[in-house]
Subunit: 342 residues, 2 copies
């Protein structure tokens, strides 16, 4: 049994004294102890070394009173397991030397055995659970098939994902084949995470917001929903689509336990679009952690009051930024932990 189960209570829709809190990318670059590791190990070495990944996962937990841990990893380990050799290039970000551009490229991709290719993630879960000692839940995650396709086709980050989108609009058959292969790999990957003991899984659709509502229902949501259908009988599934406010109504009809929202959606509208029944997660603008701790405290309190304390997980609307001062991140977390009803 997990001692602090606030996060799980929120996922189950139970009444709580205050909302749980965690921060997307909390095990990341804003922590000085994370940055200090950079000189010794490159990014994907840290993902692939269970001892390092579990240590990084624990870093924010040792500093702050967080209600959930999220396994340090990257969404690109899935396409790596499928044979796409993503690197992390300094000043560039993710980089794939030979991006997917044709139906033949897609046909050559295999759905891998995740135990062979991603065993290091499952080992990291095992180590992390020992360190967590049942104090708080551990979250596992994966990218959405659409978001993974974006990187595989574009070969690097992008503002508008025009290469990826034009690939899909010109070669829908190839796009759907690639999306299905990613989906199958992701389902096997997340199922194994659950077997290893994570308490919930979150699917990140970071670039779904580049699609129209109609194209989202063609190229993104059906594949996310396959994942939700496959995992929901086993664990809680949280879906976070950045910029995907237009799909919240469809998402609400799914078996997801919670939906993430970004900071462009007013809490009241998010509640309305999700029928006031869904657990919601979010949605503080990560850049607003540049404000003073006093302003942050005030804004977080208002955010909770607007979402309501129940069926709500306090979080950012996207990952924490690298340059945020520790005391500002702490002000965010403290404001949730110390929240009291009016």
């Amino acid at each position: 049994m997990i001692k602090n189960d606030l996060y799980l209570k929120a996922l189950r829709g139970e009444t709580v004294e205050r909302p749980p809190v965690w921060m997307m990318r909390q095990a990341g670059r804003f922590l000085p102890e994370f940055r200090a590791m950079r000189d010794d190990y490159d990014f994907f070495t840290r993902c692939r070394t269970p001892e390092l990944a579990s240590e990084i996962t624990m870093m924010p937990i040792r500093r702050f009173p967080l209600d959930a841990a999220i396994l340090f990893s990257d969404i690109l380990v899935v396409p790596q397991a499928m044979g796409m050799d993503f690197e992390m290039r300094e000043g560039v970000g993710p980089w794939l030397e030979n991006p997917i551009r044709t139906l033949e490229d897609v046909q050559n991709i295999e759905v891998p055995d995740v135990n062979e290719t991603l065993g290091y993630v499952f080992d990291a879960i095992e180590l992390t659970l020992l360190k967590l000692d049942n104090d708080i839940p551990l979250i596992g995650f994966a990218g959405s098939p659409w978001t993974i396709l974006c990187y595989c086709v574009e070969g690097k980050g992008s503002k508008a994902w025009d290469v990826a989108k034009s690939f899909c609009f010109k070669n829908p058959e190839a796009a759907h084949l690639l999306l299905q292969k990613i989906t199958e790999t992701t389902i096997a990957y997340l199922k194994r995470k659950v077997e290893k003991g994570v308490s919930a899984v979150q699917v990140f659709d970071s670039w779904g917001g580049s699609l129209s509502p109609e194209d989202y229902q063609i190229f993104s949501w059906p594949y996310i929903n396959q994942i939700v259908e496959a995992l929901a009988p086993l664990t809680h599934v949280v879906v976070f689509g950045k910029g995907c406010w237009f799909a919240l109504e469809e998402m609400t009809l799914s078996k997801a336990s919670a939906l993430g929202v970004d900071w462009t959606v007013r809490p009241e509208l998010a509640r309305m679009l999700t029928n006031h029944t869904m657990t919601l997660q979010g949605n503080f603008d990560p850049n607003r952690l540049n404000s003073s701790p006093e302003t942050i405290t005030k804004m977080v309190t208002e955010m909770i009051n607007r979402f309501g304390k129940d069926r709500y997980i306090a979080n950012l609307g996207h990952g924490i930024l690298p340059n945020i001062p520790l005391e500002n991140a702490e002000a965010f977390i403290r404001a949730v932990v110390d929240w009291k009803p009016n």
Copy 2:
């Protein structure tokens, strides 16, 4: 009197036989004759040379049955006039060697005399109106103060405008001073365009969607609204905020004649959020012009049927992409021109 006044009729909310059509960035890189000029003149030389700017403005008009022309220029000519030396760097885009980073930087900026600094734009309008010979209206444009601030502070394009946003959140006083100076310059600039004979002005808030609804009402909308208030007695003002669906209700209460919407907003929702009273412009995903001409024709027809033919200006949801085939752009335009009620 302008012979084809469909665009103006739509702005006035009058009944039309079919919606007018133009395409954002229609005078741009998708045209081979525009690309051919690149070897002879760099980007800002083309903006600053009235004969070239007016020729570029006419290029799409000579090819396609468009219902409006938009003066070839760039939103960054305004900060250039204010003393910020933006260049257009190959493979990089806009580039400012010394971005604005402090209150002192902002205090050093002057609100310029637009006649002295932007005379080349007004001369280009004069030349273009001669070439248009009253066939169709000419649109003038400017960037929103928020969007211009983004470039001035960031110094280049960005995915999330984190440097610009953190500048505003840490130095709100400096941000508001800069926004006010940009606003005053923009009002003088657009007023002079109207005096020179443009039939409408459009304000592009390309990066307003990076802000939360609350921050949009602090850092973007009040400044756009100053422009609307100043210009609405003189001409039609169209406001296009990319990613700013969350502000459509506030925008509807303003004196704007029309609002642009991007492709993430369903037509029915855009109508609802604007009280069914506003003229709307948009919202075809520019990347969907990569589909076949047959698919484009089908999708455009559906778009018009969903928005309705009146109080509607058919357009893309952002600028046309550089690699779009001419026949696909033509399919978009033809589908509007040939549209018939069911």
